[in-house]
Amino acid sequence: MITLYDYELSGNCYKLRLLMSILGVKFTPRPVDFYPGREHKSEAFLRLNPLGQVPVLDDGGLILRDAQAILVYLASKYDPSGRWYPREDAALLGRIAMWLAFADQITATASAARLHDGVFYELDIDKARAGAHALFRILDEHFWFAEQTGDQWICTRDHPTIADIACFPYVMLSEEGGIPRLPYPAIRRWTDRVKRVPGFVVMSGIFPTGEAV
């Protein structure tokens, strides 16, 4: 049985809800009172994850932290097609790992800005926003070139990988941190593609494709 220590408004938790929905993997959410309760800093939670962060996944006693690590695990174990994390292609694996690390940098910038504006984290907001824009410029340029050769996804042509899942949430939520996506048309085309993946689910703050926001 899979338990996800989950906070609805966390983009990192959403990465896992999204992939499990796409793969049709059943799980039980265990809600964490992240805000305002700070349950992720409680003694009991720190025993689960000494970093004091959500998400944490418990699969039959195997406890994993870090959204990217958990995406690797879930795709390796529960995707019989092997397309979300193709394990035979060394070069591709390297590129996926590279963009998983990039996703964590999006967390450190765009997500931090959102936490500052929404739940009053004390941090250098100008630096966080500038950092997110620098990453978004890189990502937008990456997609622009990818599209020239017919690649639809961050690392691949026709089928997305976990790199797409990892980068998607905090790009989509960036406006809540005062980071507009208007200057990044190739990113916007890609986020629309992600929303059309079969099994796609939303989280609060993200709307299905074709709607107002």
Partner: protein, 288 residues
């Protein structure tokens, strides 16, 4: 003093304004925030009392009520609005969250009053297509002109609360007893004779930023705080991008500025009521 500057809106300065949940404020010794664009300092004292200091260091009038700290930059003419249900002994009272939102306080109140957005924004929770119709309801100004009251509001909701197991037509009452605060009464999913209370108390940080505090006062002795909070936060976070994309972020008070649909009877009344009270802060004034 520039009389057209809305920050000198004396009606608003004389109101009580919320400054955060006591539970959160008690966890930190000092906390600076902003109210109507001005710096306000909260100093915790012994026994979990607080001093609230204005930008010049003078002590402001303050009080604790409904689990929140309230203060005024001016001289309140009346006591803070009443929520008698809050003191009922079997109520679960908690702050669901305090969220920063890039919008004016009146826009946030207006959205809170509007049932029309439920099926589109809170899909599968507070509404679902094809149940999009807002049935006629009653709106009036009551309490000597101090409160907007909407009654007999009904809406089909697939999942009205964290304990609702099936969809049903939910009855609502909305009160707006303060320009920046609204109180919603909603039929309880388990005990039909009682109503859950949800308060939306907005701290007007400046004209286009609020801190939105959500009070829950529920008849529910089964759910955990975490579950109750999660449900309310999920709903509010669905509204957030809608609020932050309003153009303009301030609420236009000119009756001709926006053409509200018929379902917006409470919105029309709320805007007119703000005009009559002379509330300008967070609004775009009606042209003469």
């Amino acid at each position: 003093m520039n009389s057209s500057d809305p920050s000198h809106d004396q009606v608003v300065r004389d109101e009580w304004h919320v400054l955060g949940a006591l539970e959160d404020l008690s966890a930190r010794p000092d906390w600076d925030t902003r109210l109507l664009g001005e710096k306000v300092s909260i100093r915790r004292k012994a026994g979990n009392t607080f001093d609230v200091l204005g930008k010049d260091g003078a002590t402001l009038q303050s009080q604790q009520r409904y689990g929140y700290l309230w203060a005024s930059l001016g001289t309140p003419a009346r006591p803070l609005f009443a929520i008698p249900e809050f003191d009922e002994p079997d109520r679960r009272n908690l702050n669901a969250a305090t969220f920063g939102v890039h919008v004016s306080a009146p826009r946030a109140i207006e959205n809170f009053l509007d049932m029309g957005h439920f099926p589109f924004v809170h899909t599968d929770y507070l509404g679902v297509e094809p149940h999009t119709e807002v049935k006629e309801y009653d709106v009036q100004v009551t309490n000597d002109g101090h409160e907007v009251l909407a009654r007999r509001c009904r809406f089909y909701q697939p999942r009205a609360s964290s304990v609702a197991e099936q969809g049903y037509e939910v009855e609502y009452i909305y009160r707006v007893p303060h320009p920046y605060c609204a109180v919603l009464y909603k039929a309880n999913a388990i005990d039909a004779a009682r109503m859950d209370v949800i308060g939306l108390f907005l701290q007007p940080v400046d004209e286009e930023h609020v801190k939105a505090n959500m009070l829950l006062s529920l008849i529910d002795d089964a759910s955990s705080d975490t579950t109750i909070r999660a449900f309310q936060q999920t709903i509010f976070a669905q509204d957030k991008p809608i609020l932050e994309n309003q153009i303009p972020l301030k609420l236009p008070l000119d009756p001709r500025a926006e053409m509200p649909a018929k379902s917006d009877a409470s919105s029309i009344t709320y805007r007119r009521w703000l005009r009559q009270r002379g509330v300008r802060y967070g609004t775009v004034a009606a042209s003469a």
